[in-house]
């Protein structure tokens, strides 16, 4: 059953490999910890969600694993406007 979801998650994951950071929608979070569990470099994403803070950890690989795994759609990927801003400058 959750296999179907996993495949869908894989798609999201690939799309997420861009420059940016992970932003939580705290009201949706129940602190289950699936995000932190799947973080390959052990960032405590769950704590960020509790505090309502974006994951602006310089170690974050922006792999999107936490975004894809969260069963409640708490996390999303905010793309930094780095290139836009430069281009427009």
């Amino acid at each position: 059953m959750s296999l179907k979801n996993l495949f869908r998650h894989e798609n999201t994951r690939r799309q997420a490999l861009v420059k940016g950071y992970v932003v939580p929608e705290t009201a949706r979070c129940v602190q289950c910890g699936i995000c932190s569990y799947h973080c390959p470099i052990e960032i405590d994403v769950r704590l960020h969600a509790w505090l309502g803070q974006s994951v602006k950890d310089r170690h974050c690989l922006t792999c999107g694993e936490c975004v894809a795994r969260c069963p409640r759609g708490v996390l999303s990927f905010e793309v930094t406007r780095f290139f836009d801003e430069r281009g427009n400058a």
Partner: protein, 439 residues
């Protein structure tokens, strides 16, 4: 003199209150009393532990050491009695604790149906970590299980047992699943998926007895005389707030402890928050019960601020939950419901009374295959929504409903079966959000 704050219950409401008090009063004495040895863990996370998606070690968001660092005292034990005149709590072990301000955040526990045999070894419920460990242990020796009840918890147990390769029989009293919140077709989608997972659903079925063999579950006897042999019976017919402490001292209560919008009970120095509280909503004039993690956190936090001397009212948002029903991600927001459900007594876990209120609204629907969406369209606002499967519109609908966005401009389109509901909503949300951000 330093003020003494005591909190009964180490669930999310209790933890949020302790943190709020500490934020306000760095010197105050704060003590948490909890009867669970595991202290604070993610209760909703238990469902993922059961399905093997999470190891037990990942369930603990804030550990004992982090609380100790905040100089929050922790007492392991059961609060047995409150003496409001002497401002004192007695624990079951006889220990006494004085308080100036007290928070009751005792949560709720599973209701048991009047069914002979519920005391047998092999009958389980899903309230806490100890229950989850117990189910996992029993699952190793279980080939067949019967699940009785409704709502989210019943299905979480069904999924957990199915993930552990147990043959599951799910008993429903009437003709469909969760009829108080879901519409007919939505129930059918879930039931179809359950059957695809190998779950056997028995409609119009009522258990009359759990049978035994040497003190252990041997089967379930049903009203039509049939018997399902099994080694485990799981019960999820709803929850009851843990009201004993409040009842013994005559706090005002109905289904839960009645509190005003400042989370204060009928005794001024005693507050209540979370699953145990029935909270006054000044907008509607009603006292509401939720069994939702987000509101429990928010209520605990607000209670903490007020116990520390603040005057913050609790503002009830549209109740909201994202859950998985038979593997299908489902968001439920605001008022969507249809009233009664015979598989549940009162409220269930992850549930809100608001969902069952029949909204003064017309349903706009969109459904194909497994992805479904139902939006309750009021005269000026969206009142509720259910999004099943594709979750693209889950967040936009949460925002539009919670913030009471004026939908007058798109109302006709929303109700026009020829118009594209998703596109209409998505376009509207995008421009609404831009306006909202620049306000």
């Amino acid at each position: 003199m330093t003020q003494r704050f005591v909190i009964i219950g180490t669930g999310v409401a209790g933890i949020a209150a302790a943190q709020a008090i500490r934020q306000q009063l760095p010197q105050a004495s704060i003590t948490l009393i909890g009867d669970e040895p595991d202290l604070y863990y993610s209760r909703p996370g238990l469902a993922y532990y059961l399905t093997k998606e999470l190891p037990e070690s990942s369930l603990f968001p804030i550990r004992r050491s982090a609380l100790q660092k905040l100089n929050i005292g922790i007492v392991h034990g059961r609060a047995a009695q409150i003496d409001p005149d002497a401002h004192r709590i007695q624990l079951a072990n006889g220990q006494n604790l004085p308080y100036d301000r007290l928070l009751i955040a005792t949560g709720a526990s599973a209701a048991l149906p009047k069914l002979p045999g519920t005391e047998l070894e092999g009958v389980v419920k899903l309230d806490n970590l100890a229950d989850t460990r117990h189910i996992i242990k029993l699952a190793r020796k279980t080939r067949t299980a019967v699940v009785i009840g409704g709502g989210i918890t019943a299905l979480e147990i069904v999924e957990g047992l199915a993930a552990r390769k147990i043959a599951v029989h799910y008993l429903l009293r009437r003709d469909r699943y969760w009829s108080s919140v879901l519409e007919d077709e939505e129930s059918r989608v879930i039931e179809t998926r359950l059957r695809e997972e190998g779950v056997q659903i028995h409609y119009h079925t009522q258990a009359t007895q759990i049978t035994e063999k040497r003190g252990r579950v041997a089967g379930v006897l049903m009203q039509d005389g049939r018997q399902i042999p099994c080694q485990m019976v799981a019960i999820a017919v709803g929850i009851r707030p843990r009201l004993e402490l409040a009842a013994a001292i005559g706090l005002r209560m109905e289904r839960g402890i009645l509190v005003n919008e400042f989370l204060q009970t009928s005794q001024p120095d005693i507050y209540a928050a979370g699953d145990v509280a029935q909270v006054f909503d000044p907008l509607t004039g009603y006292y509401n019960m939720d069994s939702l993690w987000g509101p429990a956190r928010q209520q605990g936090y607000i209670a903490g601020l007020n116990m520390a001397g603040g005057q913050s009212p609790y503002q009830k948002l549209a109740p909201f939950n994202v859950t998985r029903l038979a593997g299908l991600t489902t968001t439920i927001i605001g008022a969507v419901g249809n009233g009664q459900d015979d598989d549940l007594v009162g409220i269930a876990r992850g549930d809100s009374e608001t969902w069952r209120q029949l909204p003064a609204a017309i349903a706009a629907q969109k459904g194909f295959d497994i992805n479904r969406m139902r939006v309750m369209v009021g005269s000026q606002f969206l009142i509720g929504a259910i999004v099943m499967g594709d979750q693209t519109l889950s967040l936009p609908l949460q925002h539009l409903i919670a913030e009471k966005a004026d939908i007058t401009a798109i109302r006709d389109d929303l109700l026009n079966p020829q118009a594209n509901l998703s596109e209409t909503l998505l376009d509207f949300w995008t421009s609404w959000r831009n306006d909202y951000a620049t306000q």
